[in-house]
């Protein structure tokens, strides 16, 4: 079997595909060809698998929530299994499109450039369905994931060499290219034939921006969004980002296994906290969105999901330890700032991370050159 794909074999060109499946199933006894040689079962493929495990609770809950919103909007109720099945009917096709289309480009590049297939798509293809609304047209997902994989990653040489997180590039492309499919109040729930009047279609962020008579928290509560509910996540929103509780559980898993940087996660929340306090000071009245307390920001929209799974991407984040604090802090800061001050976008988390992806190399550079200076002055004394 293997000989067919080796150099000179019949399917020599398709070696990357063979290699992909072989390493997915087995750990191969390959060794470094020269120099130091460390053996560890923990390669990139396993690392990516751990990220997927971390996302999994949010993913299952996302499917449940899609189904739940669908039934509730029609005034029906059903069992948990049928919620999940209903949701899976929308979420799984998105994921399949991501893997098939993304995988196609990935393999094409690997064959042409005669390299091995990178593992990064595992995570990208899993994250993208979680950050889009379930009602998104599949062809748009296909176009966007092509953009994300090719221009966000493959032109730079594949996983580990990109500047921007490909999943975020995909999401930003969708946001700017097809704004109607990813913003507004109608896209977050899969509606059936009829919609009951009592059903709130708005996401919590849109509901909070809407205003009302009482304080902003009271207005949210009136619309059915108490803090506890928001934390649990049974409300309209992108597939995987509604349940802050499960996302934070996933985050703790990633921190314990040492995959994601706790520095980034903590400082994202710190940045959001700081900006929320500033906005609170600026708020003209209690009913204004700016008066929203910081802990509401954490459980609404994509804040928690971005902080845990997107900002911590080890490739596009800051590499230096001090840099991680700055990088994370500015993400949280900008995300809450956009929510409060930018009327064009109700949600800024994904763009804030993309923006800081661009600045991560600069932050690293400043930190590194400062370290060099400090050590030089220490050495010369």
């Amino acid at each position: 079997m293997k000989n067919l794909f080796d150099k000179g074999g019949k399917f020599e060109k398709f070696y990357p595909i063979y290699e992909m499946f072989e390493t997915m199933l087995f750990v191969r006894p390959d060794r470094t060809k020269s120099g130091a040689h460390l053996r560890d079962h923990f390669d990139i493929k396993r690392l990516m698998a751990f990220v997927l495990i971390g996302c999994f609770p949010a993913f299952i809950f996302g499917m449940y929530n899609v189904g739940y919103q669908h039934y509730v909007s029609q005034g029906l109720s059903a069992s948990a299994i049928s919620y999940i099945l209903k949701g899976a009917g929308y979420v799984i096709p998105i994921m399949l499109v991501c893997y098939i289309v993304g995988g196609f480009w990935e393999i094409l590049f690997a064959i042409i450039r005669e390299e091995e297939v990178n593992e990064g798509l595992f995570v990208t293809g899993f994250l993208v369905p979680l950050i889009v609304p379930a009602s998104i047209p599949l062809w748009q997902v296909a176009v966007a994931i092509s953009f994300g994989v090719i221009l966000g990653k493959e032109v730079f040489g594949g996983t580990g060499m990109n500047i921007f997180n490909p999943a975020l590039v995909t999401r930003a492309f969708l946001f700017f290219a097809y704004p109607a499919a990813i913003s507004g109040n109608k896209v977050w729930t899969i509606f059936g034939d009829k919609v009951v009047d009592s059903y709130t279609k708005a996401t919590p962020l849109a509901a909070a921006l809407d205003g009302g008579s009482g304080s902003v928290v009271q207005n949210l509560t009136e619309k059915g969004y108490t803090f506890k509910k928001l934390l649990l996540g049974l409300h309209p929103g992108s597939v995987g980002e509604t349940s802050a509780l499960l996302i934070i559980l996933g985050g703790i898993f990633l921190i314990i296994t040492g995959i994601a940087s706790w520095r980034i996660m903590v400082s994202v929340f710190a940045g959001g906290f700081a900006m929320a306090l500033i906005l609170n000071l600026l708020a003209p009245s209690q009913s204004s969105f700016l008066a929203l307390p910081f802990y509401y920001h954490f459980v609404m929209g994509g804040f928690a999901f971005g902080a845990v799974f997107m900002a911590t991407d080890p490739v596009s984040a800051s590499q230096t330890e001090t840099g991680k604090y700055i990088y994370g802090f500015l993400i949280g800061f900008l995300a809450v700032m956009v929510r409060g001050l930018n009327p064009a976008y109700p949600e800024g988390m994904m763009l804030a991370i993309l923006f800081m992806n661009a600045f991560a190399p600069l932050i690293d550079n400043i930190i590194v050159s400062r370290n060099i200076k400090r050590r030089l002055s220490r050495a010369s004394n």
Binding site: G158, V169, L354, L362
Partner: protein, 203 residues
């Protein structure tokens, strides 16, 4: 407050490079090295801060219709605005000459690093663009000064960020056909997309 708004607007929201795509040639060429890009950014800030107000004065007292009225009533109907481009370019060229002499005197290393691109600031469309935007948007003197300075800062921010990114992708295995300018163009597009986070912010 209004000036602060204008400053933030021209640094982030309508960044001269990433929203208007003016000044691309020097941006693409100089962003190879961080130290050179800092120098280039600083030069642009300096030139813009001086040329924008000077251009404003030229426009207000020489060029626009009725600007020469201070010479006497008979000049009331004189309209020299057809000479706007020539005057602005002359001012910019003079200023660039000045910057060049200062840089050569105080930092010969930067002078050699910038090379031909320092004189080329003269024809950097970002500089002329700022002067023309200023006329078109009917800014006051204070607004023009702030606009010139903060557009320069926006250019500075963009070019230094790009230089840092390009330093990082030196370790990347970029598709051979795209190495150099190609990948920089793609990066500029992605960077502009990231900057769109600010579009629409009003203080």
């Amino acid at each position: 407050m209004e000036l602060l708004n204008l400053a933030i607007n021209s640094i982030f929201v309508s960044n001269i490079l990433l929203a208007s795509f003016l000044g691309m040639c020097s941006f693409l060429a100089i962003s190879k090295r961080i130290s050179a890009s800092i120098g280039m950014g600083a030069a642009v800030v300096f030139v813009l801060t001086i040329t924008a107000p000077v251009s404003w004065l030229m426009n207000e007292y020489i060029l626009k219709e009725g600007a020469l009225v201070w010479l006497g009533d008979s000049f009331k109907n004189v309209d020299l605005s057809f000479m706007t481009y020539i005057f602005f370019i002359a001012v910019i060229a003079a200023m660039v000459q000045l910057v060049e002499m200062i840089v050569e005197k105080f930092s010969p290393a930067l002078y050699t690093a910038l090379g031909i691109f320092l004189p080329l600031i003269t024809v950097n469309c970002a500089i002329l663009g700022v002067a023309l935007f200023m006329v078109e948007r009917k800014y006051t003197f204070a607004q023009t000064t702030v606009f010139g300075f903060s557009s320069g800062l926006g250019y500075f921010l963009a070019i230094v960020t790009m230089a840092a990114i390009r330093k990082k992708i030196r370790y990347s295995n970029v598709v051979p056909a795209l190495r150099g300018l190609g990948i920089t163009m793609i990066l500029t597009g992605l960077l502009a997309m990231a900057f769109m986070i600010f579009s629409g912010i009003q203080l």
